[in-house]
Amino acid sequence: MISFILRRLASAVPTLFIVVTLSFFLMRFAPGGPFNLERPLPPSTMENLMRTYHLDQPLWRQYVHYLSNAVTGDFGPSYIYHDNNVAQLIGKGLPYSMELGFYALLLAVVGGVITGTIAALKQNSFLDFAVMSVSTIGVTVPNFVVGPVLTLIFAIMLAWLPAGGWGDGSLRFLILPMIALALPQLAVFARLTRGSMIEALHTDHIRTAKAYGLPSRAVVVTHAMRGAMLPVVSYLAPCAAALLTGSAVVETIFTIPGVGRYFVLGAINRDYTLVMGTVILIAIFVILFNLLVDILYGLLDPRVRHD
């Protein structure tokens, strides 16, 4: 097990290197730069800025420079948010994004697995049909529609919950963004669970369990559910990485001070270092969660145990 984890962490290094290299050069090849504003800056100011940020040097030197700083944890200054460097920006925003993302993930997984299981057990019933219709809506309606609608109903018309902001960080402030963030993922989990549960319920070993007079709770929970969770667990990694690193749309709608918006704002403003910082952040999350999921997978399924 330990050697499995070490091997996987070792193989993460080249992955990260490729991600960093690709996004560095892709970003630089995009037209424009961080200081190309609507009103052009005077040439002397421009020259000064370029020199300060080493943007006047050849690209390969900038790359080497960035890389050597990045390994020491220095992800450079942000070109737009002058008061903070990239590490500080992400360090400040990440806890907010992660807390919101964690609740959303919890809601998506628990809600999705429960509704999906019920739909599978009542396959082709009205309940199944209803769950699947709602989950189709969950997948297709984007959260920039769901967010404002939730705000309109629960914050403005019913006035039960605050419309946005982090407030004192209490759950009241988190409920609406959490729902907006979780809904599409909940729908995916419900569909995945339903599908794999239906398949699991038709396997030979479920027939065995029934033939041996096991109560239906034992058949469903002990035998069908565990096998059916395998595809669901696989989806957990990309989903967790996406939710925990913040959503630009949801954080903007509900004015959450997380890191999600940096990705969009950074890209629009050609804030090279900020984009690089968020790319690395997401890459690390994806790699870590894939590793976690693989470990979890091994615990669930003895056939893929890592030793």
Binding site: G213, P215, S216, P302
Partner: protein, 533 residues
């Protein structure tokens, strides 16, 4: 004493229906059966006869679209229509089951110890820990070596035969009255099959439970059962003692089934018949690839120094259990996979031939596979499937000529020429195998390698396919290599037999000699384990 008093399970007027989009399918049409205390009743029939669905219906295990009506009295208690909770007190306790698929019948995610303990805990109460001692006893009872260590194994760590033993342990856990064995050995090698059946018999003697054996294999029935019920199309056509059924069958269908056992034998080709295909010192290695962190790759020798000479008009039967390398040898002889050794086709040395060099010869070297469902493309018509080879090997043929060849080939294999415009799913297993044979013979090959061509078919259909293959051989002077684990079919088809084990030849010789006087212990075991030769 009347029969009724004797019966611990009395089935009367049992019907099983399935509602499908095409209407109701009557799988079992109101049958009567009696299972008496301590006896072995064999329910025999071909696929689709309703023999399994009868038992599934009684046990409440039908698919969602199935309904069961009629009556099944177990010691006076009606099982049909019993609420699930009450039925669960009988299932797994008084009446237990083992199934055909030992690979999939156990949950892959739990240890076998836990799975055997489950019915004990559920029916008798107690804890999994407390049941462990009983599970160990059971594992030893069913002959699992090193039970102490094996109890914590997962199903994938056991062989097929061992898994079936685990299922039997589970079935015995609560000392049942009736054990229903649904094709318990069909998925197993013959030697393992014999061991499992012996085990069941020994356990029956010891514990006195009745066994209901559902099978298509008359050889097993003859050696194992006291009474037989023959089923066909959802009805019981004949019931009686095993001796009566085998010696004085009354129903035409029973007689047909008994006659469908492969028979006859093939005369060897004349001594001056030319050698058409030869492989000398054939070796095939499979490598299990290594990786950056996995270490070096490891090799596994699937075929090890096998030599074989096939004469014109000859049929060489290759027998062996799964993993013996018999299929791999067949593919190596056709140069379909990387292999070492010397190969000759007719007078041509084909040892060094690559794919391109082999292509012109391919039409004369054809292959027919076991699985008549998987080996035909489902989205092409039968006509397209059987003429595909003509496009490659006789590209100048006009469309009309190809069509004529297709008609001729279909007629030769006994199919209606009109079927060339239909799709494979519209045909039965036997018909599909005929299509696969038509695809091979349309090219007028010299050698056909038949890889378990009859193993997926019912006995009666098997007999027809064998007759067809013999017929074609005589008409076209074909040479066959016939790969099979089924000794009775090999005995009927081939004039020379090669017995393989672990990639090597154990014994070879003329068919009669091998079957009448096997020399090697392994061959003896193999023949001894097959009930029907």
């Amino acid at each position: 004493m009347t029969e009724m008093q004797d019966a611990i399970l009395a089935v009367r007027g049992l019907k099983v229906d399935f509602s499908t989009p095409d209407g109701t399918v009557e799988a079992v049409k109101g049958i009567d059966l009696d299972v008496r205390s301590g006896e072995t009743l064999a329910v025999v029939g071909e696929s689709g006869s309703g023999k399994s669905q009868t038992m599934m219906g009684i046990m409440g295990l039908l698919a969602n679209n199935g309904t069961v009506t009629g009556s099944a009295l177990y010691r006076g208690q009606e099982l049909v229509g019993l609420p699930p909770k009450a039925l669960n007190r009988v299932r797994g306790s008084k009446i237990t089951m083992i199934f055909q698929e030992p690979m999939t019948s156990l949950d892959p995610l739990y240890t076998i110890g836990r799975q055997i303990a489950e019915p004990i805990v559920h029916h008798r109460g107690g804890t999994f820990k407390g049941a462990r001692k009983r599970v160990l006893e059971l594992l030893e009872l069913v002959g699992i070596p090193e039970a102490q260590r094996r109890i914590d194994s997962y199903p994938h760590e056991l062989s097929g035969g061992q898994r079936q033993r685990v299922m039997i342990a589970m079935a015995l856990a609560n000392e049942p009255d009736i054990l229903i064995a649904d094709e318990p050995t069909t998925a197993l090698d013959v030697t393992i099959q014999a061991q499992i059946l012996d085990l069941l018999k020994a356990l029956q003697t010891r514990f006195g439970m009745a066994i209901v054996l559902i099978t298509h294999d008359l050889g097993i029935v003859k050696h194992f059962a006291e009474r037989v019920a023959v089923m066909r199309r959802g009805e019981v056509v004949e019931q009686g003692t095993t001796a009566d059924i085998f010696e004085r069958p009354e129903a035409d269908y029973t007689r047909m089934l008994l006659e469908a056992e492969p028979s006859g034998h093939k005369a060897p080709p004349p001594d001056n018949a030319p050698i058409i295909l030869e492989g000398r010192n054939v070796g095939v290695d499979y490598t299990i690839p290594g990786g950056l962190f996995r270490g070096a790759s490891t090799a596994f020798r699937a075929v090890d120094g096998v030599s074989l000479r096939l004469r014109q008009g000859q049929t060489i039967g290759i027998v062996g259990e799964s993993g013996s390398g018999k299929s791999t040898l067949g593919r190596a002889l056709l140069r379909l996979l990387p292999s070492s050794g010397y190969y000759r086709f007719g007078s041509t040395d084909i040892s060094g031939f690559d794919r391109g060099a082999m292509r012109p010869l391919r039409r004369q070297l054809q292959l027919v596979f076991q699985d008549p469902y998987g080996s035909l493309s489902p989205r092409r018509t039968v006509g397209e499937i059987i003429t595909e080879g003509l496009h490659v090997h006789e590209p100048d043929l006009s469309r009309a000529d190809r069509d004529r060849r297709a008609i001729a080939a279909l007629k030769e294999v006994g199919l209606d020429p009109a079927s060339r415009n239909r799709y494979p799913h519209e045909f039965s297993g036997g018909q599909r195998q005929r299509i696969a044979i038509a695809r091979a013979i349309i090219l007028k090959p010299k050698v056909v390698i038949l890889d378990e061509p009859t193993s997926a078919l019912d006995r009666s259909v098997q007999g027809q396919v064998i007759a067809l293959l013999r017929d074609l051989q005589e008409k076209h002077g074909l040479s066959y290599i016939f790969i099979s684990h089924d000794l009775s079919v090999v005995k009927a088809m081939s004039d020379y037999v090669i017995v393989m084990k672990n990639g090597r030849i154990v014994e070879e010789g003329e068919t009669d000699a091998i079957f009448k006087a096997p020399r090697e212990p392994y061959t003896k075991t193999l023949i001894g384990a097959a009930f029907n030769v």
